[in-house]
């Protein structure tokens, strides 16, 4: 964990907006879909045409309560307010949001490192459209035209506001990662930061020591990945410390993270901030979920990441290595741990199930969720039995996912993957040793780093068909 100089401590709170995976928008029947042709999922209501009225989507209420339940929030009767400000991508020039009584009140989230981060609220609101600036500079100032796509306008969002309980950039990243895993697990959201379905703003301040009062904070926007979040928080804390150590003061403002430049920049100061003139939304009635409805949601909620990690460790048996712990964290974070559990249940060696799932499968994108578990298990069993090398197994896995499933043995055959017999491996080794006498001598004298060198040569010569473990064994035997 990076430490700040001279006894400084950072104080971070995160505001996370997550789109809900409802079929339709928050206040109308339009499709809630990403990537449609611009302005095709719109109607009088989400366009805010004169005379139109909002009608609350009950599924969105259910999803919001799922999130609140997963974050241990107090679920309460709530109502909507209007947040008034002019912006072209906001059809009514006000946003229907929640203000004094959010649907989810105080809660908490336990980080894997043991830190408990308070949740102040998780409220429902509608998303805005998207503006694209074209011609000229292509930025808001200096472009020729601005085009607005209202497909996203009215998509349901839950805004989750953490308490200022985060004390490092790594922790901020950890919070966002754990929250994303919880959102996905709750079934309410897909947590895709790159598509903007989950968006993170960070409030950062610094103070001298943990007993000092909070300093003036800055809010950082445009954090499109966990990596950006961590970098931006670190940058911002150090920027503030530099200013304070130089005897200057911090101005409360909103700052923009410039990913390429690796720095935050002023967006708008507090003085430029809007007076949102919140008042109760007269077009909607209060939300009063019954206790039975809330209880049913709590009952139907699947296991959350923390519990799944505990269960996975138990399944792995013994004491996992640090590498395995990292794999396990990643698997749960990316919501692929059911593949591991499934494979272990089917008799695959736990270490192989864990490594292949966390390292390779998870990297293959969302298509993996259409891969039948049985096909995946069949592949891992081939590798487990030594019929495919690790390298071959990874290649077949990619084919399997691309095809949406199939018979891994047949796919292996198509690639021409046949297990090498020991005789041909011997022959290949002979040639490689003869061609690299110096390296071989050093290896025999105990330079283990050269194991990789020889394995690589063998793999190159066999086009990856050799089994890495068999090569290592053969090298050790020859060394004597």
């Amino acid at each position: 964990m990076s430490t700040l100089p001279n006894g400084w401590e950072m104080v971070v709170g995160l505001e996370v907006h997550t789109e809900l995976k409802t079929q339709t928008k928050l206040f109308c029947g339009c499709a809630n879909a990403f990537g449609s042709e611009p302005n095709t999922n719109i109607c009088p209501v989400c366009l805010g045409l004169p005379g139109s009225l909002p009608v609350l989507n009950e599924k969105a209420v259910e999803f919001a309560i799922r999130i609140g339940t997963a974050l241990n929030c107090v679920i309460q009767g709530s109502s909507f307010h209007r947040k008034n400000y002019f912006y072209p991508d906001q059809p009514k020039d006000y946003q229907i949001s929640q203000y004094d009584i959010p649907i989810n009140g105080i809660g908490f989230l336990d980080l894997p490192d043991g830190t408990k981060v308070g949740i102040e609220r998780a409220h429902l609101e509608e998303d805005t459209g998207k503006t694209t600036h074209v011609g000229g500079s292509g930025r808001i100032h200096g472009s020729d035209e601005s085009l607005v796509d209202y497909n996203r306008a009215g998509v349901p969002l839950v805004e989750i506001v953490s308490a200022p309980d985060i004390r490092s950039a790594e922790q901020a990243r950890g919070y966002a990662a754990e929250l994303r895993a919880i959102l996905i697990a709750s079934g309410a959201s897909d947590g895709r930061m790159e598509e903007g379905s989950m968006r993170v703003d960070a409030n950062v301040s610094v103070r001298k020591g943990s007993d000092a009062p909070f300093g003036t904070r800055c809010e950082i926007k445009n954090l499109n990945s966990l990596r950006s979040l961590q970098r931006a928080v670190d940058f911002e804390a150090l920027r503030q410390i530099d200013l304070l150590e130089a005897g200057e003061s911090i101005t409360q403002e909103t700052r923009h993270w410039d990913e390429d430049a690796g720095r935050t920049q002023t967006m708008r100061s507090k003085e430029e901030a809007n007076d949102y003139r919140y008042f109760p939304e007269p077009d909607l009635v209060p939300i009063n979920p019954t206790q039975a409805f809330i209880d049913e949601i709590a009952r139907s909620l699947p296991a959350m990441p923390a519990q799944r990690r505990v269960e996975l460790i138990a399944q792995l048996g013994g004491d996992p290595t640090q590498a395995q712990r990292d794999q396990l964290m990643a698997a749960v974070e990316l919501n692929v741990d059911s593949f591991i559990t499934g494979a272990i249940h089917a008799g695959v060696t736990p270490a192989i199930a864990l490594a292949r799932t966390a390292n390779e499968l998870a990297a293959l994108g969302d298509e993996i969720f259409s891969l039948p578990l049985d096909d995946y298990v069949a592949l891992l069993k081939l590798e487990d039995a030594g019929a495919l090398s690790a390298t071959q197994s990874k290649a077949v896995l990619a084919d399997l996912v691309a095809a949406g499933g199939g018979d891994p043995a047949a796919l292996a055959k198509q690639r021409g993957f046949e297990k090498l017999d020991d005789g041909s491996l011997d022959g290949i080794l002979d040639e490689i040793i003869a061609a690299n006498p110096d390296e071989w001598r050093r290896y025999c004298e105990g330079d283990d780093k050269l194991t990789g060198f020889f394995t690589g040569k063998v793999m190159a010569a066999t086009k990856g068909q050799a089994d890495g473990k068999a090569v290592n064994a053969a090298l050790r035997t020859r060394k004597g």
């Binding site: 045409l49 004169p50 005379g51 009608v55 008034n84 072209p88 100032h141 007269p282 909607l284």
Partner: protein, 472 residues
């Protein structure tokens, strides 16, 4: 021309809908150049619908309770493809891609919309002088205002251009012009008629209601447009009330309170009319009493904070981006500002500024918050009053129709003309105005009946008694 009779004749094949509608257009052609009740007419569309209806009648189809009845629609209700401007430059020429729920219901009932009626811009006003497209004149005296904001709808019925029209009432915008034009006007219980497709002024107060020449027709129209609408979250989960069938039930034993606070500032002739109407009710067997609800005096101030606050937000969307008037500028803020500056009239701007201020940080509690507390007091005071009376009787407006231009330079004097009607909207209750004789100036007087939530059936019964006892 009774709407009920017309619909029966059309359904029975005694008259054709085409003939009825053509007759309505003849009346409009004859009088509307002077009155200017209509902003737009839907001649071809209306005649086409009438012909189609006639074919259906010939085929023996059931055509609904308003078969062939021409109706005027206030220009703040959306109708597919028909200009809906709210009498504002900012929406000039705007054609909605959808029908308001009331329009859908009217079509299903066989009614035929003949045009959109004039109004104060965005329903803000009490004289229809705030229309961006010219004033409407009172059919009883063209130098007088018809009242507002639904002045066009009231005048169209009063001038016998149409037997029915729709208005909207936020602080008296149906009842006040009904009184000044000598027709029946009803503001139903909040939530009884769907607001879907009614261009919002003040969402928590707006309610659509009927204008008619008589109580029976108003009841018939309300039956058609009322009822639960899933598109309006504030719509009551109630079926449309049965009114026409119970109209002649009488008022025997009904407790009616004459409210002194709804007579304050009333001219002598108006006060006399209210007293005479009370006598009529008493003569029909009602138990009359005098009551006072001093909290109603808070109504006007509370209204002029709550309604502008909601309006400032409801009217934000007219920003030049998506529809309506756009005046280009160097950047989006300049475009917004120029469009709104050019598109809105003075009264609308005044209320947007008032409402924006009332909701501002640091002032919210002193203004909007305080107004909401006053609103609660009014609701509680009404509830207490309805513990001892069934209905309340008072004036609709303090005076008969005033002259065109007489109050247009003095907003506060203009606001005062809604002093008797506003409390009802704040409480969400129903109320109606029934014509009752004429003032010393020979202009119509209306008396107002108020009732608690969903007391429409009783209100119409009492209104019927007053109507039958009114001076000829």
């Amino acid at each position: 021309m009774s709407a009920l009779r017309t619909a029966q004749d059309v359904a029975d094949g005694e008259r054709s809908a085409s003939e009825v509608v053509a007759e309505s257009f003849r009346a409009i052609d004859q009088r509307d150049a002077e009155i200017h009740a209509f902003l737009t007419l839907q001649r071809e569309q209306a005649l086409g619908e009438a012909e189609a209806l006639d074919v259906r009648i010939t085929n023996g189809e059931n055509v609904g309770p308003l078969a062939g009845v021409p109706i005027g629609i206030k220009d703040n209700m959306c109708q597919i493809g028909e200009v809906t401007s709210c009498a504002s430059r900012i929406l000039e020429g705007w054609r909605p891609p959808y029908d308001a729920t009331v329009i859908t219901k009217l079509k299903a009932a066989g009614a035929i919309a003949v045009g959109k009626t004039n109004m104060d811009e965005f329903a803000m006003g009490s004289s229809t002088e705030n229309s961006a497209f010219g004033v409407t004149r009172n059919p009883h005296d063209p130098e007088k205002v018809p009242g507002g904001s639904s002045g066009g709808s009231a005048a169209a019925v009063a001038a016998s251009m149409v037997p029915l029209s729709l208005g909207s009432d936020t602080g008296g915008s149906i009842r006040q012009p009904a009184a000044l034009c000598g027709v029946v006007g009803v503001k139903p219980t909040y939530g009884l008629v769907s607001r879907y497709g009614l261009v919002a002024f003040a969402s928590s107060l707006d309610q659509i209601g009927p204008f008619a020449n008589n109580v029976e027709d108003a009841a018939l129209l309300l039956e058609v447009i009322a009822g639960h609408d899933p598109k309006d979250s504030t719509s009551l989960n109630q079926p449309a009330p049965s009114l026409v069938a119970h109209l002649d039930h009488g008022v025997r034993g009904l407790r009616i309170g004459i409210c002194s606070d709804l007579l304050q500032g009333a001219s002598d002739d108006v006060a006399t009319a209210v007293a005479q109407a009370a006598a009529v009710l008493q003569g029909a067997g009602a138990e009359l009493s005098e009551i006072s609800i001093p909290e109603l005096g808070l109504g006007l101030s509370a209204y002029y904070l709550i309604a502008p606050a909601e309006a400032s937000s409801n009217l934000a969307r007219y920003d030049g981006v998506r529809y309506g008037l756009r005046v280009d500028g160097d950047d989006v803020t300049a475009m917004n500002t120029r469009s709104r500056t050019a598109g809105f009239g003075d009264e609308v701007k005044r209320r947007i500024m008032l409402g924006t201020y009332a909701l501002s940080a640091g002032y919210y509690d002193a203004y909007y918050g305080q107004a909401q507390r006053a609103r609660t007091l009014i609701i509680q005071a009404f509830a207490k009053a309805y513990g001892s009376v069934d209905l309340i009787l008072g004036a609709t407006t303090p005076t008969t129709a005033f002259g065109i231009g007489e109050k247009s330079g003095d907003p506060l004097a203009m606001y005062q003309s809604d002093i008797c009607t506003i409390p009802t909207n704040l409480a969400g209750h129903p109320a109606l105005s029934v014509p009752f004789g004429k003032g010393v100036d020979q202009m119509p007087i209306g008396v107002q009946l108020l009732g608690p939530t969903l007391s429409e059936q009783r209100l119409f019964q009492a209104a019927r008694v007053i109507e039958q006892g009114a001076p000829a």
